[in-house]
């Protein structure tokens, strides 16, 4: 690429070690002014360390950072922000009970006679949001906004600081497809204005759509930097994982599905109506739908969290009507919840404790303690079978990658050996290699004769893994598709007729 003038950002030969790990090894990373530069790599590849160094949260052991050709060093996040670098973290940090304007100017509040200049905060916020092409009321509380709108407010926050380099960490992870598309348009708009964007993502189609160039990290080294034209998805994945995409999705079911394991007739509650659904043993049924379509609520209803109020449900031919999660578990249902951090893991407790949680919930009051060698051995066996990678099974859950955390939760359910498993967003926030592994495990569990319901917002995953696909819309089942259906067919069912012109702003 022909360059005129200095690069907006150069990170030269950056090295960083943590006790026991060399997180970055001689990494060089450069961005031109106004380009969208995608940064990919599996979890643990060094992306987040690189970003932390750029954002001033960590200091490199060796190497130099240049902004517009001038060497800089960031001792603290404040220094990096002052130099025009803004990092938008995956977990948004807006204050839910403060207004949009207050959030945008958090820490850089304009003042007049020593007091907050609210009129100016409001007009400036409106100007910034207009520049981003959206209209969000600046007096609204941030907590009332949709995730997509919150994301936009985060970007406006960066612009309020005159950021010239904006780092976005998985910005679309929690967004629906239409919202993601709009965010991508917004990113392009910013880059056209000369803002340099470093775009961290796992989602290949998105990277292809948004990036000008892409850099792949693996094991703390740069393995590839290329223009997006030279880096089709297959090549990117090979660079990230070190192997081909061919065996990414599991093979289809080895044998035809068996008897109905889970059947629901006329299931309805506040958010669902008229749900008729059968999942047979040895099959994986994918459930797709937009946000608010009722697909998450379906999972919760089956698991007794927000139970069905009408209709009937059978597990292995036996009628059951779980009113709470405990009853659903007794009936033979296991559910891996959407939000691992909030609904799944005990973050500060060990893997073993996490893996035995359900088992302990059903243990007799006066049973033998769970640390006894026999139980521990079985627990460890399960964790090993699922290929959970940790320094030790006594490690705290929060220290693991998303993929390993998911496997720990799965092992908790397998301890109960339930005939029906509900996976809600099984690979959200999970890196590519671990995704492939989770798909493979799901297929093996199905082949063992379990019925699997996979609720997912990731259409590639729905298409790649499901034996049969259910599409939901407005709390109802909008239609069913067979294996091999295309993403377009699914979307057509998901949005059918109801002309949703979902803008980022209402």
């Amino acid at each position: 690429m022909a360059q005129s003038g200095p690069l907006a950002l150069e990170m030269v030969q950056i090295t960083k070690s943590f006790p026991g790990v060399r997180a970055l090894d001689d990494v060089t990373f450069a961005c031109a002014k106004g380009e969208v530069h995608a940064l990919c790599g599996e979890n643990g590849a060094g992306k987040s360390t690189l970003i932390k160094i750029l954002g001033g949260a960590n200091q490199p052991d060796a190497g130099r950072i240049l902004l517009d050709g001038r060497e800089v060093s960031f001792a603290h996040p404040v220094a990096s922000r002052a130099a025009g670098v803004s990092v938008i973290h995956q977990e948004l940090s807006l204050l839910p009970f403060r207004t949009v304007a207050e959030n945008i100017f958090l820490g850089v509040e304009p003042t007049r006679y020593g007091l907050l200049d609210r009129p100016r905060m409001r007009t400036e916020s409106e100007r910034l949001l207009r520049r981003l092409g959206v209209s969000i009321p600046t007096g609204a509380q941030a907590g009332e906004l949709s995730v997509a709108q919150q994301q936009v407010v985060e970007i406006a926050k960066a612009l309020a600081l005159d950021a010239r380099i904006v780092v976005m960490d998985e910005p679309t992870a929690a967004l629906e497809r239409t919202e993601a598309t709009q965010l991508i348009a917004l990113v392009k708009r910013l880059s056209a204005e000369g803002v340099t964007i470093i775009y961290v993502s796992h989602r290949m189609p998105e990277i292809q759509a948004v990036a000008d160039r892409v850099t792949v990290l693996k094991d703390g080294r740069t393995v590839m930097t290329a223009t997006i034209a030279e880096a089709p998805t297959a090549r990117l994945v090979r660079a990230m994982v070190g192997r081909d995409l061919a065996d990414f999705y599991p093979l289809p079911a080895a044998k035809p599905p068996g008897e109905p394991a889970l059947s629901i007739r006329g299931g309805a509650n506040a958010s669902l109506s008229g749900v008729d659904l059968v999942v047979r043993s040895a099959e994986i049924v994918g459930v797709a739908g937009l946000e608010g379509s009722g697909k998450s609520e379906l999972g919760r209803a089956i698991a007794g969290d927000e139970p069905f109020e009408r209709g009937t449900m059978e597990i292995g031919g036996k009628p059951t009507a779980p009113r709470r999660p405990r009853e659903a578990i007794e009936a033979g249902i296991g559910r891996l919840a959407e939000d691992r951090k909030r609904e799944g893991l005990l973050m500060q407790q060990s893997l073993r404790d996490n893996a035995t949680l359900t088992q302990r919930a059903f243990a007799p009051w006066l049973g033998r303690p769970f640390s006894e060698p026999m139980t521990t051995r079985r627990t460890d066996e399960r964790l090993r079978q699922l290929d959970v990678r940790a320094l030790s099974f006594e490690q705290e859950a929060r220290q693991l990658s998303g993929g390993n955390q998911q496997k720990v939760i799965l092992s908790r359910w397998l301890a109960r050996n339930p005939p029906v498993l509900v996976f809600a967003e099984p690979t959200r926030g999970v890196d590519v290699a671990a995704k492939a592994q989770i798909y493979k495990i799901m297929r093996e569990l199905a082949d063992e004769g379990r019925a699997i319901l996979m609720i997912s917002s990731d259409l590639l995953e729905i298409v790649g893994v499901s034996d049969r696909i259910i599409v939901m819309r407005e709390g109802r089942i909008a239609g069913e598709l067979q294996r091999g259906a295309s993403e377009e067919e699914i979307m057509a069912l998901a949005v059918a007729h109801d002309e949703r012109t979902e803008a980022v702003a209402p």
């Binding site: 973290h89 940090s93 207050e102 958090l106 907050l116 509380q141």
Partner: protein, 327 residues
């Protein structure tokens, strides 16, 4: 778009104003109904109302300070002990001499500020949990005080008693002072950068830190305000009791009651949301409850039961409402 902005911003304050308004109405209704029912209608005349408002002063001042600590995501359990220290110190230094009033007040405020800095520093620097840090500081204060004084110490001059007993027309200085302090506090929370940063630190400390806010200083600031308010309450009690004793703060249960009224007033215990007017409405409710039970001639213990029930109900209602808000 302008209209959207206006409707939204009109709606935002309503959520927080609602609670104080409702409490105000409930308190007044309770007071009036009891006064009428017990045929003590003189309680509805100016003197009765002033008496009611005067009941608010002691708790009101501490609670305003406590609001700052809680909004910033912290809490202060040392206020009751600090109140005792302030009351004793004031009357001990004054020894009935008017010329010692100014030094005594200055000393009390200085000591209060130091306690606030210590509380804030323990929490933000040494990362001690706020409950434990302020509990510990409170015990230390009480220990030092009880070791040095066993009974009423010194006395305050008549001039200083004017703080509690003087009045401007029908309005006592103390009531005027309370509302002036509330106005000032609400102005600080709403219109200053310090106020905005208190909400930011209470709402998301890590986010505030990454936004470049010096969160440690904000926490210390919140605790200094809180301790200064406790000091003021101590001065007020010394004036009202004409002397200070080492048990005045503890006997008033100012630590737990100040937290209770803040929470009743709609301030989120986790921080990041709330305000002074809600707190004051909570104080009014407690005062109206006290006055009503007095009129009814009922002993103090059922009052405690009712107070407890009110705190629990308030927290339950707010939790329910904020769940609605999020959903």
């Amino acid at each position: 778009m302008t209209s959207a902005v206006e409707t939204r911003s009109a709606r935002t304050p309503r959520l927080s104003v609602n609670a104080p308004l409702l409490l105000l109405v409930v308190s007044i209704a309770l007071y009036v109904v009891v006064a009428v029912a017990t045929r003590q209608t003189m309680m509805l005349h100016v003197d009765g109302i002033v008496g009611l408002l005067q009941r608010m002063v002691g708790l009101g001042i501490v609670a305003i300070g406590q609001t700052f600590a809680i909004v910033a995501g912290s809490i202060d359990l040392s206020v009751a002990n600090l109140i005792s220290v302030a009351a004793v110190l004031a009357s001990f230094i004054m020894q009935g001499r008017p010329e010692m009033m100014l030094p005594a007040v200055a000393a009390v405020l200085a000591i209060s500020a130091v306690v606030g800095v210590v509380n804030g520093a323990l929490i933000s620097r040494l990362k001690v949990n706020p409950l434990i840090a302020t509990l510990g500081v409170g015990l230390v204060l009480q220990g030092l005080l009880s070791a040095s004084f066993t009974n009423f110490a010194g006395s305050v001059p008549a001039e200083f008693q004017a703080v509690a007993y003087g009045a401007l027309g029908p309005a006592p200085y103390s009531v005027i002072g309370l509302f002036a302090l509330a106005l000032l506090a609400s102005f600080v929370l709403r219109a200053t950068k310090f106020g905005a940063h208190l909400y930011a630190v209470g709402g998301n400390a890590e986010g505030a830190r990454l936004a470049g806010i010096r969160t440690g200083l904000v926490t210390v600031g919140a605790h200094v305000v809180c301790s200064l308010c406790a000091g003021l309450t101590g001065l007020y009690l010394a004036s009202r009791l004409r002397s200070g004793a080492p048990w005045v703060g503890r006997d008033g249960v100012y630590d737990l009651e100040s937290i209770a009224v803040v929470v009743i007033g709609g301030t989120l215990l986790a921080g990041g949301r709330g305000g002074v007017w809600g707190t004051l409405a909570g104080v009014l409710l407690f005062a109206a409850l006290d006055a009503s039970f007095n009129m009814l001639g009922v002993s103090a213990y059922p009052k405690l039961v009712l107070r407890g029930a009110i705190v629990i109900a308030a927290v339950a209602v707010y939790t329910f409402r904020s769940r609605d808000l999020v959903a």
